[in-house]
Amino acid sequence: MIARVWQLLVVVLAGAVAGCAEDASKMRFAQNAAIANPVHRKARAVVEKTLEEHFGTPLDSVAWLKLPVNYGKAEGKVKSVDGRSVIVDFNAETSDLESLKSPELSRAGLLFTSGANQGESFLLASYDPSEKSFETLLPLKTAPAEGDQFVVAGQNLRHGRKLYARHCQHCHGINGDGDGTTAKYLNPRPRDYRLGIFKFTSTNKDTKASHDDLKRILSYGIPGTYMPSFVPMLKDNELAVIVEYIRWLAMRGELEVQLLKDLKNDYAADRARKEAKESKASTSEIENQIAKQLEEYVANPTEGLAAFIETVTGDMVSAWEGAETADTVIMPPVPRVPDTVASRERGKALFVKTDGGKCINCHGPTGRGNGFQTEDFQKNDAAGGFYEKRGLHDAWDQPIKPRDLTRGIYRGGRRPIDIYRRISQGIKGTPMPPVAATVKPEQIWDLVNYVLSVPFESVPRKAAKAHSVAGQPSEHGNAN
């Protein structure tokens, strides 16, 4: 940093006012270092290349149609083929024609839905709105015939990326790692999307976050954190495309994690050194061997990389698609139990019971978030062993505190149904467990009623009523 300051001074002294143009080609999604470090660098390069092929770079993103992301869509038919360029006719009814005029369409994805190329997807290299012709990045294997139908997608991704860069990137990072330039000052840290986990959802414990869940977070913010509300700053359609971009980043991150974890088994960073010790071969020989194996792995169509990606994305796609279906959304089977003193007391009894919901273990006897677990050493399931620091940790290995319920701040929303969902299904990526299996819905409602009453318990009711704000001088007496 000192060097940077000097650099700055030197630049200022030298009087260099000329602008340094942004070099788009150099802007890349950084690799997930925590997971990539133990992997052999050649394998990491394979992962990087694979991801770039399917997702592109931040400024040149690729709409991978396999993923359940709403990239923005246009449908059309082939009219004729002139060399490499294909002259087409878009279907005005099913296409967003306005977005087709934008240069952002270039390098959008293209999928043939009929004809010789049916099921094949390509990347668009360019699109000329006046000629209504496009070229694909790689030559089409078989020339499309007149009347072949196709879908073009990806405009939303471009739009989303633009908005993401303006509003989100400085905290959540270019690749969604929650490590933008502002992130280091924030507590709690911004979400790292790359595990594909979002905390506050309406879906059940095994399902991803739905589009609407993410949109609700953008609309309302997360109280008690730096995640602000983006309404009215962003319009409805803007929120929607940002959500799509975030989901896309999350899927990209997930695939990256899966690939790296898989390759780590066979291509650990220290493999060459280890094997050189065991056998008599030199390190460079083993390095060559690794390169060869990798090449074979990438080339193998049935058991190699492609097949692995197929499996992983298949699971991923169904998990994300599942979140959009109604049956994964948690709806309480019974209406809220009336918020009576008796109900709260039942809730409190459950809250403090050590063999029931076990709330007390973390949230403490009075809900201050100071249960004994916060003072204990906790198991690290992912890495094995225990965390070095006392207290709870989340899936991102960050220390995490149980909510202090007396403050009346509910990050996932303060509606009864929000609290119900938190208790019933737990909070994803955190030690907050789902209790639906052991606690009945009515009892969950008792707990909800109790939790919502915690901030007011210490206020004697009569005294609070007497303290009307109206016409009173402020706390410090000089506001009149």
């Binding site: 730096y226 009215p232 149904i417 007011f456 009307s468 402020s474």
Partner: protein, 272 residues
């Protein structure tokens, strides 16, 4: 070069004046107030602004003309020597007394608008008696707390209070008061279309009142540096008819009690 420099120094004030006239006369350019004030007090503030503007413009033109005139005379002087003068006592008296009278008048003339805006004793009684909401500024959003319909706003949060974020609703044609506070650092509650601005000071509750006379949605922004996300604190004031206002509170209440079994209309607007 003498002529050039005299013209140069006269050129710029002319450009400034023309630019100002164009800016104030052409609302479509957007270089002037963001529309007429939607409160009567705001209009009075605008009038005071224009009063000062007229006086200041006259002085500006007068002094710049005088400056360029003496410049022209001095640079084209054919005299062998400059006029040997150490000043004039009577002139000094004139140009001390006249401005001081104008300035003093300006200062005293502003007092009652300020009192109306800020001194609680001068607030309309209906506003003073029943503040409609508590607005808490925090990094980087506005959290708004309404009392439950039919109840009065209490100093401490109540279990049945209603909460919203970045959207303050107020009925039109009624003087309303809000309690402004800050949850973390200093902010400033700025309604440009209503000409209302008041800092939110940590540890204080500051009352603000206004009486919007126009229906619509008006920007609410932060005008005091509150950290890196200062610019992100965009919110809005929704000024609506009494019935709509009550409906809004009802809707808020229904949403806040939503348990998955209430009527679908209870789902908040932001939730689709």
């Amino acid at each position: 070069m003498r002529k050039f420099w005299c013209a140069f120094f006269v050129f710029w004030p002319i450009v400034a004046i023309i630019y100002s006239i164009v800016a104030s006369m052409t609302p479509s350019l957007g270089w002037w107030f963001p529309g007429a004030s939607v409160t009567e007090l705001g209009q009075r503030i605008d009038n005071l602004f224009y009063l000062i503007l007229y006086i200041v413009t006259a002085v500006f033109i007068g002094t710049q003309i005088a400056l360029v005139y003496v410049l022209w005379r001095a640079s084209h002087s054919k005299d062998e020597r400059a006029w040997f003068s150490h000043g004039s006592h009577s002139l000094e008296v004139i140009w001390s007394v006249v401005p001081s009278v104008i300035l003093l008048f300006l200062a005293l003339y502003q007092m009652d608008v300020w009192a109306l805006f800020r001194v609680q004793a001068y607030f309309p009684k209906e506003a003073r008696d029943a503040p409609i909401a508590e607005v808490t500024a925090r990094q980087f959003e506005w959290r708004i707390r309404y009392p439950a319909p039919g109840k009065k706003l209490q100093l401490k949060p109540q279990p049945d209070d209603l909460y919203d974020v970045n959207d303050l609703h107020a009925p039109i044609n009624r003087a309303v008061m809000i309690q402004l506070r800050s949850g973390d650092v200093q902010h400033s509650f700025f309604l440009p279309h209503l000409r209302v601005k008041q800092d939110a000071i940590p540890g204080q509750i500051i009352p603000i009142w206004f009486k919007a006379e126009k229906q619509g949605i008006f920007e609410l922004t932060c005008a005091e540096l509150c950290g890196w996300g200062h610019y992100k604190m965009r919110a809005q004031l929704t000024s609506e008819r009494e019935v709509e206002y009550e409906a809004y509170l009802k809707k808020l209440q229904a949403d806040q009690n939503y348990d998955g079994h209430a009527t679908p209309s209870a789902v908040a607007k932001k939730d689709e």
